[in-house]
Symmetry: C2
Subunit: 276 residues, 2 copies
């Protein structure tokens, strides 16, 4: 299902309908069933990866799921509903806000590198180093030549991650401006949602076309074989969640991991245990 969403060289957000459900022609109810059916397999494959790391098996991989999207695009919902199904001991979530003064005093990848998941772990980036070529480009927080440099720095960084065994999966949750308007309005209508609303969100919303262009460029230039982008239509939350869960499952399957062998003499340990 996800392969049709993979970002290629001619990618343009405007070619993709945010309300569509490419590769899936079932109902929301069908999707819910598939969604739940994935749980047992994801749990087992995640545990295998974690077990290999705990047993110090050489070459144990990790997974890094990068989540990007405009405000209200559903990143938090993906974390709650997709990542929330995984054993929390095997997951690290890193949320990237506006950089602090200390972070700004370093290269833009400095704070990112510190959050790379160790072997055996599924890391999730809620926003990421891509903000450094999105808001930073749209708002001119960095000069054009520095933005330009960053695309190359990012692909090189992600190439290094891949060589070191981290499987990078990047997801852009694609919503329409109308959908965002409705979601923001709902936050203003419900006192239990006020905390999710930030007046600054409307400032960014006013720059919608510039953001779409920045996404077009960033995704085209950084969707590589070792760290592909998937542009996921996200007006329908259930579809986006199903796709991301499927991507996680596909990635775990591709690792093709067995259980690590015993690092001790099983018979000898049985004797010791029986005597204890």
């Amino acid at each position: 299902m996800a392969e049709v969403l993979r970002v290629g060289e001619t990618f343009r957000l405007s070619d993709i309908d945010p309300s569509s459900t490419p590769g899936f022609d079932g109902t929301k109810k069908d999707a819910a069933k598939i969604f739940d059916d994935h749980d047992a397999e994801i749990a087992e494959l995640q545990e295998r990866m974690y077990a290999n790391a705990r047993a110090d098996e050489p070459g144990t991989p990790s997974i890094l799921l990068v989540l990007q999207g405009m405000d209200t695009s559903g990143k938090g919902g993906i974390i709650r509903h997709v990542v929330g199904g995984v054993d929390p001991q095997g997951v690290r979530i890193a949320s990237f806000k506006a950089p602090t003064d200390e972070e700004r005093a370093h290269d833009f990848l400095w704070r990112i590198e510190k959050q790379v998941p160790p072997r055996g772990i599924i890391g999730v980036f809620d926003r990421s180093h891509y903000e450094d070529v999105l808001i930073q480009r749209v708002r001119s927080f960095a000069p054009p030549e520095e933005i330009e440099r960053r695309y190359g720095a990012i692909t090189e960084f992600e190439e290094q991650l891949a060589s070191a065994g981290t499987h990078v999966v990047k997801v852009m949750l694609h919503i329409s401006k109308e959908e965002q308007g409705e979601r923001l309005a709902e936050r203003l209508d419900r006192p239990d949602k006020y905390w999710k609303y930030n007046p600054g969100d409307v400032d960014e919303r006013e720059l919608w076309p510039a953001y779409q262009e920045a996404y077009d460029i960033a995704l085209r230039r950084t969707s590589t074989t070792s760290a592909p982008w998937y542009c996921v239509p996200a007006n329908r939350k259930w579809y986006a969640r199903l796709v991301v869960k499927g991507l996680l499952l596909d990635t775990l399957r591709s690792l093709d991991l067995g259980w690590p062998p015993a690092k001790f003499d099983v018979e000898e340990e049985r004797r010791r245990l029986a005597a204890s």
Copy 2:
């Protein structure tokens, strides 16, 4: 239910049957229903706490759940099944292994303080500073007078946490030596469990009475009003998980939090949004 499990001044592990289910006289099936029924309320209360922190509400609390117990007592299962039901964005898990050289060069609380959950977050300690008065006492890794000093340092540290708004809940998962024997044997019988087995576990098992004594002393001396210990019979995993989930729910309820108020003019934002 949990109140009967609270550790008091005359506490002794040997007075508590690890196979009992104090305060609960239903079946395992009844327990499963109550367990699931808690989910919605825990999710809402956790979100309120998180929301208050995000909205910078003064005095927003946090929760720290400390998990201790002998090997195989079920700490990992609590994290997977109880903590796993909570939105992962609102949870931080810290797992404490044998201290590194750098950690050993500092006071024993140095590495602990770094993992205290920030406001709005549920922190979980998988083992904790209590190892410094358990294995360190049993194995004489520190001299008696240093162990002695630590009990006081711990209660003072936890008192400070409480004053700063962290609700500390400490759980000791109490299993019998026979039950541990069966659980370790299962790890040796199943290749998908080998990775959980460590020959060192049998070494510690051989010191069972010394550990029980160290727990008796530690729990009695550090179960305070602001950071109480609960000794949870854990031979029946379903009972232990039900109790810990109930403790988490009770703690969340006791915070009595509402949704944070809007920090902006709702009408004005509606206008801005409509115009955007």
